[in-house]
Symmetry: C2
Subunit: 103 residues, 2 copies
DNA sequence: TCATTATATCTAATTATCTCGATTTATCAA
DNA sequence: TTGATAAATCGAGATAATTAGATATAATGA
């Protein structure tokens, strides 16, 4: 866990906002109709939905999501042409534990 | 509490390092001989000591400390020509609580 | 008062981040 | 196979952060 990179990721308001939105995926993005219900990737939202809500260019959101995945805040899974992202609750919890006990 | 500004402050390695050093002020900086013992500001370290250990320019450390104070990570008190900084444990705790419950 | 020391502020150069549009890659459907 | 759609990557310009050096402010002590 590279806490410095996590702090960097969270220091951008758009990225922090996306992480917050993904706490309530259905409420914030509506149902993901293309996500196969048997896929076992509940809560995953595709790049396009996040891009639309954030209002930044597609390339920006794509790289933001990749960055957040790389530092451990998100996990992703591809189904066909769609890449779905959701929170990595385990790693987020580990980070929160670090902040509480080590910061 | 502006969590975005706190994340920004912590996203810089030098600032994060200073916050860590200030967890053990005596071990990391030695005794602060100029700090009046009756001052009730235990754990406070002057700018010069922090500057020396960090190895960056005095102006840089001064502004970093001001920034960290502004976002609530540090508190400061001036005695004569010296300004002593120490961790604001209450606000750090509140931030850690936010990360654990809201992030 | 004047020189010294500690800290803060200002200015500027370098580097990093943000953001976009264009292109590329991957997948799907006809 | 070809055209369309989704996402990722590339290249570049604008903005912000980092850092240093010079100067300003504040306090001390002779």
């Amino acid at each position: 866990m590279n806490t410095n990179l996590i702090f960097k990721a969270l220091s951008n308001e758009v990225r922090a906002q996306i992480l917050e939105w993904l706490k309530e995926p259905d409420e914030n993005f509506g149902p993901q109709i293309f996500l196969p219900p048997d896929s076992d990737f509940r809560g995953g939202i595709c790049v396009g939905s996040i891009q639309e809500k954030a209002g930044l260019a597609q390339s920006v959101i794509s790289s933001y999501l990749t960055l957040m995945k790389n530092v451990g805040l998100l996990e992703s899974k591809r189904f066909g042409q769609w890449t779905y992202y959701r929170r990595d609750e385990e790693k987020i919890k580990a980070f929160a534990e670090y902040v509480k006990t080590q910061l």
